[in-house]
Structure formats: structure tokens, C-alpha cells
Amino acid sequence: MDFDFSDDQVQLGDAVRKWVDKGYTFERRRAIEKAGGFDRAAFNELAELGLTGLYVPEDDGGLGMGPIEGMVVMEELGRGIVMEPLAQSLIAGAVIAGYGDAATKATWLPGVASGEKLVVLAYQERAARYRLDVCEAKATQAPGGYVLNATKSVVPVGDHADAFIVPAKVNSQLALFLVERESAGVTTRGYGTQDGGRAAEVVLKNAPATLLTTDGLTALEHAVDIGIATVCAEAVGVMDKTMAITAEYMNTRKQFGVTIGSFQALRHRAADMKMQLELARSMSYYASLKLNAPAPERRAALARAKVQLGQSMRFIGQQAVQLHGGIGVTDEYIVSHYFKRLTQMEMTFGDSLHHLGEVSARMQDTAGAFA
């Protein structure tokens, strides 16, 4: 049992932090948001740091690193509420490497690793809400592969991505496919999202697709669990910075002649926030450390983590705004952007209530992380 980061991990985190602090200032973020919520240049800078290839095996041009490195990176990106969806590259790298055949890997992984190919998961459908086994998208075999008919919603940077990982049913079996955005039959409708980022509706009409795996549900669950772990890690970064911003404000802002950080009721609120942060950090570790566990164990662990993280994100986000008072609800001041990011992340890859249901359904006799 060991919760220290290796020197390499510390260095990796430092490098990302340096980029965030210097390369992704609040002003740049605001400009990106105004311009639509995604900046390929910023994404390329992440790629230059090697981050897009974090989960791509070294043989395929990546760094071949694991969940802890992913966690370290995502936490730092969270600190700067970076909107460019690195998590999608982590998912794509791991899923293609884990489930694709040799040809698919050779075709896609180098591009994912280099950042030239931004591949995102396009799985959400209107009728499914957060469920992964509900899927109306249909795939049918065609000369040279498959064609897909599907409408996928709220796909991260869907109108900028180069390709999509798409679950669709072949007969009644869920399979996973790769679809290039530039292909015939693919239309996207992009829009901004509540956190300042970008997403799109992706409509596929007889769009040509490459089969990634016929074991689609297994792969999709894995993909989403990687996503949950990245959200958890990122959220810790967002919350950590939110706490710091709030603490600084409390120690500066005066009311009735004293700093508001001297009011006991507010101090206790800050303590409650710290509690939620440390519980969240603990469960983010847990999520990443369980990411390579066997599927049933992994699924249960990630659901538990998301319940804790969701609760922490909501509490810390809401209280940070409240403790700021009026300035907390303005666009001008930074804290509201952290709050909105936390709100959106609670609803990403399943919200707290959804995952409570998962925990409840999977609950067994034993108790504890080390049961």
C-alpha cells in the first residue's frame, strides 16, 4: 500500500501545471469560450506535452502510462478548468488499444497519440439518459465494413473531432465502431455547453464505420469507467482550486469591519468544504487505483467514486459561490466558472443519483474498500 507519487509522476504533474498556469490563463479560457468553447491550438499544446498519448502503448507512438499518470494530469487540468477534452483522448487511446485489432490500432493510435486525430466517445442517446445498455443506433453490414444509423447527443466537441467511437446494435448485440467525421452521411450540429466548453449532436445516416469490437457493452462500460476516473481526478483539481480561491476571498473580503474568514459559522463551512475535498480526493485515488481491476469490481468502485465526487462537487461549488456573496454569481469573477464546471461534471458519465442506484444494485454483504 503506497499513496506516494513517483518522481516521474510528480514531474509530469509539474509540467502540466506549468502549462496551465502560463499557457491557459483565465483570459485565454474566456476567449476560447467566446469563440465557441474549443481551441484546437490549445488541444495541440496538450498533445505536444505528450498527454494525448498517455494511454497509447509506446509501440503505437504513445507514452504507455497508466491510470495514476492520467489522474495526475487530469487533476492539473482541472485546476485550470481546461475545456479541451483530453479525457476523450485518454478514453480513445485505452479503448482502441484494448479492444481494436492490429490494423485498427495501427491506423488510429499514432494519430490519437500525436493529437492529429481527436477521437471522442459518441454514446449518449435521448432515450438512454445515463444507461449504457439502452441504444437505438443500428449498424448493418455493408461492402467493406458497416454503415451506421444513429443520433448521438451532447458529444464532446463533436463538430471538431476527427472521429467518433460509436456504440450501435448489430442485430440485438451492442458493438463499438469508429466513424470519421468527414465521412459521407455524418452531420454535426455544434453548440456551447454550460461550462464554457463545446459539444454537438452527431447524426449518422448510412455512415461508413469500422468495427472496433463486437463486445460493445464491455468496451463501452470500460470506456465510461475511464471517463469517470478522469472526471473524478479533474474534479479534485477544480475543487482544490475552488477552495483556494474561496479561502483567499474569505481572508480578504471585509464585512462589518472584519474579514469574513473570521466568522465562526463561515469557518465551519470552510471546514465542511475541506471535508468534502479530502473525501473526494480519497475516492479519486480509489477510482484510478481500481481502473484496472476486473470489470465487476471496477464498475462497483467507479460508481462509488462518482457518488462521492458528485456530492463533493455540488457542495463545494455551491458553497464557494455562497461564501463569495454577490460577486460569486457574476460572470466577471472566476469562481462562478469553477462552479459551472463542477455542475456540468456532476452530470457527466452519470450523475450522483444514477450512480447511487448502481452502488445500491451492486451492494454485497461485505463492507469497505479493503473488504
Binding site: Q124, R126, A127, R129, Y130, S153, V154, R189, Y191, G192, T193, Q194, D195, A199, E201, R253, K254, Q255, F256, F263, A265, L266, Q318, V321, Q322, G325, G326, G328, V329, T330, D331, E332, S336, H337, F339, K340, T343, Q344, M347, D351, L353, L356, G357
Partner: protein, 393 residues
Amino acid sequence: MDLAFTPEEQQFREEVRAWVRANLPTDIAHKVHNALELTRDDMQRWAKILGKKGWLGFGWPKQFGGPGWNAVQKHLFEEECALAGAPRIVPFGPVMVAPVIMAFGNAEQHQRFLPGIASGEVWWSQGYSEPGSGSDLASVKTRAERQGNQYIVNGQKTWTTLGQYGDWIFCLVRTSNEGKPQTGISFLLIDMKSPGVTVRPIIMLDGGHEVNEVFFDNVEVPAENLIGEENKGWTYAKHLLSHERTNIADVNRSKRELERLKRIAKREGVWDDTRFRDEIAKLEVDVIALEMMVMRVLAAEKSGKQSLDVAGLLKIRGSEIQQRYSELMMLAAGPFALPLIREAMEAGWQGDFPGGEVGNAPLSSTYFNLRKTTIYGGSNEVQRGIVSQVVLG
């Protein structure tokens, strides 16, 4: 003790209901029922309709041209307006400054200002808060210096709601630095078209333009615009703050929005999910308990027999409920609450909202926007302090 309204009250409610349903423009009601954006015109159109009927100043006594309703009647009027989907009456004129003018203004001021407020012609704004004042309203820094028969006003107000539409603004200004902070404050009415008045928008976290900063740069204000006596403004301001707080809980609107939440839950497929449904059920209990608490206050006002010191509780609970229903609406829509498409929050948008339900468009924005409710009007922390005085002295 009787839960039922009296036959007279019930008849009053029916009359108000009939009139509101007949006179509230359906395009406006549609916007309110779907949390779409209201324009200045929407708000003023409804204000003028009410003004014509004599109900814009629904809390005014008869001597000033109001309907002279008691607390229960006022509540029923507000409830019927809320449930019908009427926009909230912009309170700064008819609800806030008018009672102060009535109580502390002179006859000339009554004649000059009240008719425009009653008719909805003149849009008033509030100039209380200043940068840094927060919950400490007595820390007024905006100065008004008497020069002959006018005041020269310099300073800045902030959080001025809908100030971008304002014709007039009532302000707390500092006319003296002697004594306690409260003693040197005066209550001044200022024409916002005066040279030197500048309004600058503050954009809220949801992207909306709802509040403003108002700057005063050597603004000349006739001395006849002073309400009451110089340096006694704090008294008048306190009168204003203590006045007309029955609707502080905003329970009527919460009832309407609880029904909307249920509609959204059905549409989004979570109405039959025990887990989500229970959250609505909890909120329903909360809304009913709040409504019962409001009823107790109204009944006590009506009978005059008991006194109930629960204004702080109404504010705290009312704001928490507003935040919760908006949160549940957003969570009900889940992924489909995440797209931010501003045009989709305007009536009549013909685009294709992600997932196909344009009703989801404003949900997150409303959730974000309502974070203000536990902050403004005396933050809930300040309210808890007030309540603790009642409990502990």
C-alpha cells in the same frame, strides 16, 4: 382554526383569477411557464394592464388609490398571478419606494411620483447596495452635498436590478459623516436621465444581464427630491425593508415551479423512477410546509391576535426551495440540460434543441441564476443570525 378560506376570500380569489386569466397576454404567460426570457416590453405591458385596473399598487391603501386589500387578499392576488404565469411585478416602484413616499414624502411628492408608479409608466430602480457593502447596508459611501436648492451626488451603486430600464432611482446617500454610520444617510429620488448618471451592466454567471452598476458623477438633484428629513434616510430604508415582506417566501412561484418540475420529470422519464420521484416528494413536503408557515403569518396579520417572528425563516426556506426545484429540473434533464443555446431561451425559436425538447434549454441557466436567492435580500447567513436572536436573545 380553519384551513379553508372564507367564502368572501374564496370569491375574491375567483374574481382575481377570472380577471387575470382574461387579461394576462398569453404570449407572456407562455414565457413565464417555460422560463423563457422576458423583455422590458413584456414586463411593462403587464404592469400597465395591472395599472389600468388599479392593481399594480396591489398593496396600497385606498387613500392613495390602491385597492386597500388585507394580507390574505394580497396573498391571493399574488398567488393567482403566479399560478397564471404572470411575470413577477417589478417591485422597486409599487412595492418598495411607493410606501416610503406615502409614509414620509410630502403631499407634493405624493402627487408627483405616485401616479406614474401606479400606472406602470415610470420604471423605478433601487440604489441601496454599494461596492463592498454586501450585507452591511449602512456603510453608504455615495455622497450628496447640498448646494443651494440642489444636491450634488457622487458615488456608485451596484447590484441595481433591471437598472438598465430605469427612469428613476431611489438612493441612500451620505449627507453627513457625523455620528454612527446610520445617522448621516438620506433618502433621495434621482432622475436617471440626469447628466452624470451612467449605468453599466454586470453580467451574471448564467450570461444574463439582470443587474447593473450605477455611477453618479456630479449629478445635480433638486432638493425637493429628498424624502423626509436630511440624515433620516436610514429610518425610511428600514421601514422599506420591514414592509411588504409577506411574499418574501415566494411560495406561490415555488408552487407553480413544482408543477413544472413534475411536467419535466414526466417528459424526461424520471417520474416513475423511485429514486428521482422521492426527491420531488421531499420537495413537495417542503413546499407545503412553507406554504403552511406563510398561511400562519397571513392569518396572524389578519386577526392581529398573535405575532409571528418568522420573516428570517421564510426567507431562508423560500430561497432554499427555489434553488432545489431548479436543481431538480436540471438533474431531471441530465445530459440535455448541458447545451447552452441562448436563442433557445427566447420565445418562438425554431431551431432543433439537442434531444428535441426545447423546454430543457433554460434549466441550467435558471439553476445558476437562482444561486442569488440565498445571497440577496440579506444573505441566509445574516438571516440565521437574526433568527438566532429570536431563539437566544
